[in-house]
C-alpha cells in the first residue's frame, strides 16, 4: 500500500484534547451492554454445568416449559448444528460447543440450557426446573497433568497436522521455530542456566459483564445490541450458529466497559437470539460476575522450561524455550505466539522455541492483551536476570548488548524493519528511576517485551456537513480512546478543529466489514483508513475549488483547512476554507464524503522496557510495588494521554497478574474464586504512580508513523515484577502469582 501521504510535522496529532465520550460516561448517559430495553422484552438466564467434565445423558425441560412465566427454553438442539455454508467447522464449531454444550459438559460453568422468562428473577428461578442427568467423567485442569499419558481425553481428534505422533490427544497444536545451532551455542557459553516457570490463568477483568439484547424473527431477520470488541465477528458468528444469513442480522456495539481481548468472541449473544426466535420476543441476557469468571475466556495457564547460555561479556550465545499453554477444553491456547514472542527482543545467533496448545477442563481461553507473550517474557527475562546476577553484569547493559535492531533476524524468522527497542533501553538507562537508591528490603527489576501488532480488514466513511463540520464512521469499538485519536487524525488531514469532528462507531448495516478491535490494530488500521478517507474528501474539495476558479484540479492543493492555488501558474485566488466549499456543495456536485476500505498490511512491531521497584514484607509475604516506570515505542503518539493510559493500564493489570490474580480450582475441578472478593484484581491503593516515557520511532507502514500500543504494555510487567520481587526477597520466584503464601513458602525454603 503506497504511503505517499507520510507526514512528520503535525498541528493536531500529538495534542491532548478532552475525550469525546467523557461527559456521557461521567453523567451516566453512555449506554453500555445492559443499558437497553425493548417493548415486550424477556429476560434470559443460562443453566451451567456444576461438573468439570460430564456426559450429558438427558435434559428434561418440560417442567420449565410448563411454567407460566417461561416463554422459551433452548438447548443445543436449537442451534445450527448441521453443515451450513460456510459451514460449522473449525472455530465456528468450537464457539458453538462453548456457547452451548453438546454431548458433554467440558468445564465447570459450561452452558447446557437457557430460559427466557418475563423477569430476570423468574428466569433464574425457572432454571431449577430443568432436569439434567449427568454421567460425571474424570477431569484435568493442570497443563502438565493434561499432557501426561494417563490424563482423561477431552476430545479425540482435536489435534491438527502439527502435533508429533505419540503425544496425548489433549495436545492439539505444536509449534517449533528458530535458527542456528543451540547446542553449539550452549557449548560456547561461560554460564548456562536452565530453569522452569509456571503461571496461572488470569481473567481480563473488565468491569462490564457481558450483556446483550437479541431480537430474531422466524423470517431470519434479527437485531443484536451487545458489548463487544467486534460486532462484525459477532454478526458472522451468530449468523453461522443460528443458520441465518449474515446480512439479515444487524449488530450494534454498545459502549464498552473494558474488553482487553476477552470480548473478541461471542458467549451469550447466540443464546439470546435463539431464545428470541423461539419466544418471538426480544430477549435480554446479562451475565453475573460469577458467570463471567466461570464461562468467559480467561487467559491460558502456562508451564515453561528455559535454557539460556551467556558469555562473560553478556553476549547470549544460545537460547531455548519450551512453552506449554493450557487453553481450556478447546484448541486455541497461543503456545505458538508465546514461542514466537519470547526471544523476539534479542539478536540471537542460536535460538529454538517450541510451543504446545493443550486442552484441559477449563473455560475456553480468550485473548488477553498480547495473548501468550507475557508468560513467555516472564520465564525468559527471569533467566536473563539470573544470568546477569551470577555474571555480575548490569541488566540494562546486557539487554542493550543483545538488543534486536533494524536488520536483526528475529527469533521467529524474518528481519526487522525499523524498530525502537534500543531506544527504550537507552531511555531506561537514562531515567532517574534506574539510578535511584533502593531502601533495605527493596529490589529492582527490569524486563523487555515484544508484540507483533496487527492490521486487519477495515472500512471507514467520512462525510462533510454544510457548516463545515465532519462525521466520521468507524467500525472498531472504542476500547482505548480511538474516537479521540480518529478525530485528531481526521483534523490533521482536513485542517478543521478536533471539536468539529464527531466520530461514531457504526453498526453492521451502515458500514463495510471491520475486523475486531484487537491486535493493537485500531489506531494503526482505522487510523490509516481515516487518513485515507479524509484525503479522499480533500480530493473532492480541491475539485470543487478548482471548478469554481476554472483551473485544473492538479493546480489546487489543500493547506491549513483551505483549498489554495498550487504554484505560480495556477492563478491568483483567495484561499477557500472547507466550510466555504461545503456550504455550496449541494449545488456544486452534491454531498462530499470520503471512504476507504482495505486490509492494511504495515502494522509495525513494538517493544517496551519496564523498571519496577518492589518491597517484600518478610513476615507476611505481602509485596508492595513502590515505583514503576513504563517505557514503550508508540511509533507516533496520536493522543499522548491515551497512550500513557494504555501503558499504565498494562502495568496495573500486570501487577495484578504477577502478585495476586489466579484461577483456583478445587480437587473437584470447580472454580473456587469466581467473584472479585476472592479473585483479587489491584485497586487504586495497591498501585504506585506509574510513570511513562513515550518513545517515538515511526512505523514505516503508517502515514503518521503509528504503532499499536494496546498490548505491548502487558508483556514486560510479569517478568519485571518477578525480577524485582526476587531481588527484594533474595530468592528466585518461579511461579505466578507471587501471592503472600507463595512468597512466605519461598522464603522458608530459602532458609
Amino acid at each position: 500500500m503506497a504511503l505517499d501521504d507520510r507526514k512528520s510535522e503535525f498541528s493536531f496529532v500529538g495534542t491532548r484534547p478532552n475525550r469525546p465520550d467523557g461527559l456521557d460516561k461521567v453523567t451516566g448517559r453512555a449506554k453500555f451492554g445492559a443499558d437497553i430495553s425493548a417493548p415486550g422484552m424477556l429476560h434470559g438466564a443460562i443453566l451451567r454445568s456444576p461438573h468439570a467434565h460430564a456426559r450429558i445423558v438427558k435434559i428434561d425441560t418440560s417442567k420449565a416449559e410448563a411454567h407460566k412465566d417461561v416463554k422459551a427454553v433452548v438447548t443445543r438442539a436449537d442451534f445450527a448444528d448441521v453443515p451450513f455454508k460456510p459451514g460449522l467447522e473449525g472455530e465456528f464449531w468450537n464457539v458453538l460447543e462453548n456457547v452451548m454444550a453438546g454431548e458433554k459438559a467440558l468445564y465447570d460453568g459450561h452452558a447446557v440450557a437457557a430460559i427466557a422468562a418475563t423477569s430476570a428473577l423468574a428466569a433464574r428461578d425457572a432454571l431449577k426446573l430443568i432436569e439434567v442427568e449427568y454421567e460425571v467423567l474424570p477431569h484435568v485442569t493442570d497443563v502438565d497433568k493434561a499432557m501426561a499419558s494417563d490424563a482423561p481425553v477431552i476430545r479425540e481428534g482435536a489435534a491438527d497436522y502439527s502435533v508429533p505422533a505419540g503425544m496425548h490427544p489433549n495436545v492439539v497444536r505444536y509449534h517449533e521455530s528458530g535458527h542456528g545451532d543451540v547446542e553449539a551455542g550452549f557449548a560456547e557459553a561461560d554460564l548456562v542456566i536452565e530453569d522452569s516457570f509456571v503461571t496461572e490463568a488470569t481473567h481480563q477483568g473488565y468491569i462490564e459483564p457481558h450483556a446483550c439484547l437479541g431480537m430474531l424473527g422466524n423470517d431470519g431477520k434479527g437485531e443484536l445490541w451487545c458489548t463487544t470488541q467486534g460486532h462484525w465477528i459477532a454478526q458472522k458468528t451468530c449468523a453461522a450458529l443460528l443458520g441465518i444469513e449474515t446480512s439479515q442480522l444487524r449488530v450494534t456495539a454498545s459502549e464498552i466497559g473494558g474488553g482487553f481481548g476477552g470480548k473478541t468472541t461471542v458467549f451469550i449473544e447466540p443464546v439470546a437470539l435463539a431464545l428470541s426466535r423461539k419466544a418471538n420476543r426480544p430477549v435480554k441476557l446479562v451475565m453475573t460476575r460469577s458467570e463471567v469468571f466461570r464461562a468467559t475466556g480467561p487467559t491460558s495457564s502456562a508451564s515453561m522450561d528455559i535454557k539460556i547460555g551467556m558469555k562473560k561479556d553478556g553476549t547470549i550465545s544460545a537460547a531455548q524455550g519450551v512453552f506449554r499453554l493450557q487453553g481450556g477444553a478447546f484448541p486455541g491456547a497461543p503456545g505458538d505466539m508465546t514461542a514466537m514472542c519470547a526471544f523476539a527482543p534479542y539478536n540471537l545467533t542460536n535460538v529454538k522455541q517450541i510451543g504446545y496448545d493443550v486442552m484441559a477442563n477449563r473455560p475456553k481461553q480468550a485473548a488477553y492483551r498480547a495473548p501468550g507473550a507475557p508468560m513467555g517474557a516472564f520465564a525468559v527475562e527471569s533467566v536473563i536476570d539470573e544470568l546477569c546476577k551470577k555474571l555480575d553484569l548490569d541488566p540494562v547493559d546486557v539487554r542493550l548488548k543483545n538488543a534486536a535492531h533494524e536488520g536483526t533476524k528475529a527469533s521467529y524468522g524474518p528481519r526487522y524493519e525499523r524498530i525502537g527497542l534500543v531506544e527504550t533501553l537507552e531511555a531506561a538507562k537514562a531515567h532517574p528511576h534506574y539510578s535511584a537508591p533502593l531502601k533495605p528490603g527493596q529490589g529492582r527489576g527490569i524486563s523487555c517485551g515484544f508484540w507483533f501488532n496487527h492490521g486487519g480488514e477495515t472500512s471507514v466513511s467520512l462525510s462533510l456537513s454544510e457548516d463545515g463540520s465532519a462525521q466520521l464512521m468507524v467500525g472498531t469499538p472504542d476500547i482505548g480512546g480511538s474516537r479521540a485519536s480518529m478525530a485528531l487524525m481526521a483534523a490533521e488531514v482536513l485542517g478543521i478543529p478536533y471539536e468539529n469532528i464527531r466520530v461514531t462507531i457504526a453498526d453492521t448495516a451502515t458500514l463495510g466489514y471491520n475486523d475486531v478491535s484487537h491486535g493493537s490494530r485500531v489506531t494503526y488500521a482505522s487510523g490509516l483508513a481515516t487518513i485515507k478517507a479524509a484525503n479522499h474528501a480533500v480530493e473532492k474539495l480541491c475539485e470543487r475549488a478548482a471548478a469554481s476558479w476554472g483551473i485544473p484540479t492538479d493546480a489546487v492543493k489543500w493547506e491549513n483547512g483551505c483549498a489554495v492555488p498550487s504554484g505560480p501558474n495556477a492563478g491568483d485566488f483567495d484561499p477557500r476554507p472547507l466550510a466555504d466549499i461545503t456550504t455550496h456543495m449541494g449545488s456544486t456536485g452534491g454531498p462530499i464524503s470520503g471512504h476507504f476500505e482495505a486490509t492494511p498490511e504495515g502494522a509495525g512491531v513494538s517493544f517496551g522496557t519496564h523498571i519496577v521497584d518492589a518491597e517484600v514484607d518478610p513476615e507476611t509475604g505481602k509485596t508492595a510495588i513502590t515505583r514503576y516506570t513504563v517505557i514503550q515505542d508508540a511509533g507516533k503518539a496520536i493522543h499522548p494521554t491515551y497512550v500513557e493510559g494504555q501503558y499504565q493500564g498494562g502495568a496495573a493489570q500486570g501487577i495484578g497478574w504477577a502478585l495476586n490474580e489466579e484461577y483456583i480450582y478445587g480437587e473437584d475441578g470447580r472454580l473456587q474464586n469466581s467473584i472479585f472478593l476472592d479473585y483479587r484484581i489491584p485497586v487504586a491503593s495497591d498501585l504506585p504512580m506509574i510513570d511513562t516515557v513515550i518513545v517515538e520511532v515511526p512505523n514505516p507502514g503508517h502515514p503518521f508513523g503509528v504503532r499499536g500500543v494496546g498490548e505491548t504494555g502487558i508483556v514486560p510487567p510479569l517478568a519485571a515484577i518477578a525480577n524485582a520481587v526476587s531481588h527484594a526477597a533474595g530468592v528466585r520466584m518461579r511461579q505466578l502469582p507471587m501471592s503472600p503464601p507463595r512468597i512466605l513458602a519461598a522464603l522458608k525454603d530459602n532458609g
Partner: protein, 81 residues
C-alpha cells in the same frame, strides 16, 4: 524465483526442507506454488499463515506483490487481543 523460509515445525511436511524455492509474483501465487511443490503444506496454510516480505509481515493479504530477490518467511497467522 524467491526462497521461502519455513518455520522448522513444517520440515516434517516438506521432506526435511526448511527453504523452498518458488516462482511467485504475489503472496497468493506463493502459497499456491508452495502447495504444488509440497501438498502437505495445505494444512498449515488452511490453518492460517502470514508472510513476511523483507521483514514486513503480511497478515492475510493474497495480492501483495513479491519483489524479485526479496527475503520471504512463512509465519503462523498472528492473533491479537
Amino acid at each position: 524465483m524467491v526462497e521461502v523460509h519455513l518455520w522448522s515445525g513444517l520440515r516434517s511436511l516438506t521432506g526435511g526442507r526448511q527453504v523452498v524455492k518458488v516462482e511467485a509474483k504475489t503472496t497468493g501465487d506463493l502459497l499456491r506454488e508452495l502447495v504444488k511443490l509440497h501438498p502437505q503444506l495445505q494444512a498449515p496454510i488452511d490453518a492460517g499463515v502470514s508472510i513476511a516480505i523483507d521483514g514486513r509481515v503480511i497478515a492475510s493479504g493474497l495480492t501483495e506483490p513479491i519483489p524479485a530477490g526479496s527475503e520471504i518467511y512463512l509465519m503462523q497467522r498472528l492473533r491479537g487481543g
